[in-house]
Symmetry: C2
């Protein structure tokens, strides 16, 4: 199959694109991470989210250690072709390494970032 | 007021942080853009989204020309402190410069990006 759809994406200078993961059931924004050309292709082919870990500098299959895989239902591209949105079924209901549903668990208020979401699963 | 909350954010090498805007009513992810320290402060102080335009290299008050302002209800910070999520009331129901509700109007299918959302407002 032609890979024009990959070429349509505006990759940044590091060859990556930011990817927002949104839960298809709760509609919560779960996290943002980065994909390379290779990990996007892997994600499309397998149906499971594969990111590029910038800290570990390698392919990161989401949930490969925790079991909290993300099954992707939709891939969406924005108007500037430089951001992706994936709609996912989050296995275990936990996307964050802190054991919370979403990585966005701190809210600004009164000059501080306040934790507003509970830990669902204690991560070991 | 102390600005520790600004210092808590991990700004990238360009002094920016990616910001995801989500509609508080429809829960749709509308767009992703970037804020500088200054535009985040402006956003908190005014309650309206101010981004940093990387293409124009200046402050961009969202909707300043189109009227499609974003009134921010919540600012959320992720676990790594390097991504923000804002929950907004989207004035006019249109976030995208193409006149669509969301910038994510193309979906991957059969090796192509297919337009799946209608233009709500013809932009001049």
């Amino acid at each position: 199959m032609s890979e024009n759809w990959l070429g349509a994406i505006c990759w940044n200078n590091d060859g990556l694109v930011p990817v927002i993961a949104q839960d298809v059931v709760s509609n919560k924004v779960l996290m943002m991470a980065w994909m390379s050309r290779e990990t996007l292709k892997l994600s499309v082919e397998t149906g499971f989210a594969h990111y590029w870990s910038r800290s570990r500098n390698k392919i990161w299959k989401k949930g490969e250690e925790s079991g909290h895989l993300q099954a992707i239902e939709e891939f969406l591209l924005d108007c500037d072709s430089d951001v992706l949105l994936i709609k996912v079924k989050q296995v275990g209901g936990v996307a964050c390494h802190t054991g919370r549903e979403s990585c966005f668990f701190r809210r600004y208020g009164h000059g501080e970032w306040e934790v507003i979401s509970p830990v669902i699963k204690v991560m070991t």
